[in-house]
């Protein structure tokens, strides 16, 4: 059984009619209602933990950061992130937030599209059949590391493009408009812009904007970009993640903060968590369970290789969040 977490009052305040949504949630699972005022994340966490039991298969947060806040964690790395925004703590029974005890995902709301949340809940299928046409974009500087992750996707008809030479104006039509496929991005992102960037040396061309994304029905998106999964105060015009979901994507995996990775294999940090997620998802297990198992695999591989989890490993485990129905099983069409 799913455990839904939301705040009807906050949804209403954002112009989203909470009545049909709450009715849907109570009909389809257990519900934890956050208080009318924005809750302290720790208070909310205790409320969720009190409801967790063997009957709960997964937890789904309904709403964006303004409805149910991400949980702020101390940033283990030295960079400009004051904290690392995470959903892990909401499903961690103890105060160690690297490996959650339950699968969790979030179905975000969009301030500019009050109907999106209801549309997603009503139309979401538990089984998504994707073709084996996989499309990816990588910063040229990370082409070797990206090839390693990309090798984990289905083998037929896959295309990994590098930026530069790829720039926004030369985006292939099948990226802009193509349904039921995987999408992989290993590019630069920033909290100050709705663009993602490639890189070669000191050249950072814009390679994707939210405006470039049109029809993405059933698409499964995996992004390593810094802030690729950060939605707060962003809407259709400014967030690539939200635009993918608004355009019909089933699932989106991305980072809420600055993410890290090597230039060359073996995969580490963002490369490793995304690669492990792809491998687990392809075993046809529910998406949020796939992410939980990917985190465990990340820990096992990293500690087997280096004997410890360092600061950027820890940040990688905190910062990747999954958007979409946690029960989605991705099947590959041959």
């Amino acid at each position: 059984m799913k455990l839904y977490v939301t705040s009807p009052q906050q949804l209403d305040k954002k112009g989203i009619n909470s009545k049909p949504i709450m009715s849907y949630l109570y009909k389809n699972g257990l519900v934890v209602e956050a208080d009318s005022l924005p809750s302290s994340p720790e208070f909310l966490r205790q409320k969720i933990l009190a409801e967790l039991s063997a009957e709960v298969s997964s937890v789904v947060i309904i709403g964006n950061h303004q409805v149910i806040p991400f949980f702020p964690l101390d940033n283990p790395t030295v960079d400009s992130d004051a904290e690392v925004w995470s959903d892990n703590p909401y499903v961690c029974l103890y105060d160690d937030f690297l490996l959650p005890d339950y699968p969790i995902s979030r179905i975000p709301s969009d301030p500019h599209n009050p109907l999106f949340l209801w549309d997603y809940l009503e139309n979401c299928k538990v089984e998504v059949e994707v073709s084996q046409k996989v499309f990816g974009i990588s910063a040229h500087s990370w082409k070797n590391a990206s090839r390693e992750v990309f090798s984990l996707f289905p083998d037929k008809h896959k295309q990994l493009l590098f930026s530069p030479p790829l720039i926004r104006l030369s985006l292939p039509v099948h990226l802009v408009e193509s349904n039921y496929t995987y999408r992989y991005f290993n590019v630069h992102g920033s909290k100050h812009t709705h663009l993602w960037y490639g890189q070669q040396g000191s050249n950072y061309p814009a390679v994707l904007s939210s405006e470039d994304i049109i029809d993405q029905k059933g698409v499964v998106v995996i992004s390593e970009a810094c802030y690729g999964g950060w939605l707060a105060k962003r809407g259709e015009k400014t967030s690539i993640a939200m635009k993918f979901l608004l355009s019909g994507a089933s699932l989106f995996l991305g980072s809420t903060t600055i993410s890290y990775g090597p230039s060359y294999p073996p995969s580490e940090e963002a490369d490793l968590i995304c690669g492990c997620f792809v491998q687990q998802l392809r075993k046809q297990i529910p998406a949020a369970t796939a992410l939980l198992k990917a985190r465990e695999e990340f820990i096992n591989l990293t500690v087997s290789r280096q004997g410890y989890l360092d600061d950027d490993d820890r940040k990688s485990l905190y910062q990747f969040v999954l958007y979409g129905n946690p029960d989605i099983i991705v099947k590959e069409r041959f």
């Binding site: 790395t77 030295v78 960079d79 400009s80 103890y94 160690d96 690297l98 490996l99 500087s141 990370w142 290993n186 590019v187 630069h188 992102g189 920033s190 100050h192 812009t193 960037y197 040396g201 000191s202 950072y204 814009a206 390593e224 970009a225 810094c226 690729g228 980072s255 600055i258 993410s259 890290y260 990775g261 090597p262 230039s263 580490e268 940090e269 963002a270 465990e296 820990i299 096992n300 500690v303 087997s304 280096q306 004997g307 410890y308 989890l309 360092d310 600061d311 950027d312």
Partner: protein
């Protein structure tokens, strides 16, 4: 090997950070008891380790409005060997 020698070595490999003074952090990673309870592999393989991390942060201006940080993080063992190099995305 001194910090200065390590910084020189890193800058030789990554000349784009030549003009950056890194932040240096020394950490001792100890096995985590909660993770040890959840993963047998972690329990068997996790060992205490002392590491020094050199973080180079370079501001990149994409256009007049947008600036982001390009970060290089280099982990070094107690003998001064570079054991890991990662970049921000």
């Amino acid at each position: 090997m001194s910090d200065e020698e390590i910084i020189k070595k890193i800058k030789n490999i990554h000349p784009q950070f030549q003009d950056i003074t890194p932040k240096i952090k020394e950490v001792v990673y100890k096995p985590d008891k909660h993770l040890a309870g959840k993963s047998k592999i972690y329990r068997d393989k996790a060992k205490p380790r002392r590491i020094k991390i050199f973080t180079f942060i370079k501001k990149i201006r994409l256009n007049q409005q947008i600036e982001f940080e390009k970060i290089l993080r280099v982990s070094v063992d107690s003998q001064g060997n570079i054991i890991k190099t990662v970049f921000s995305k």
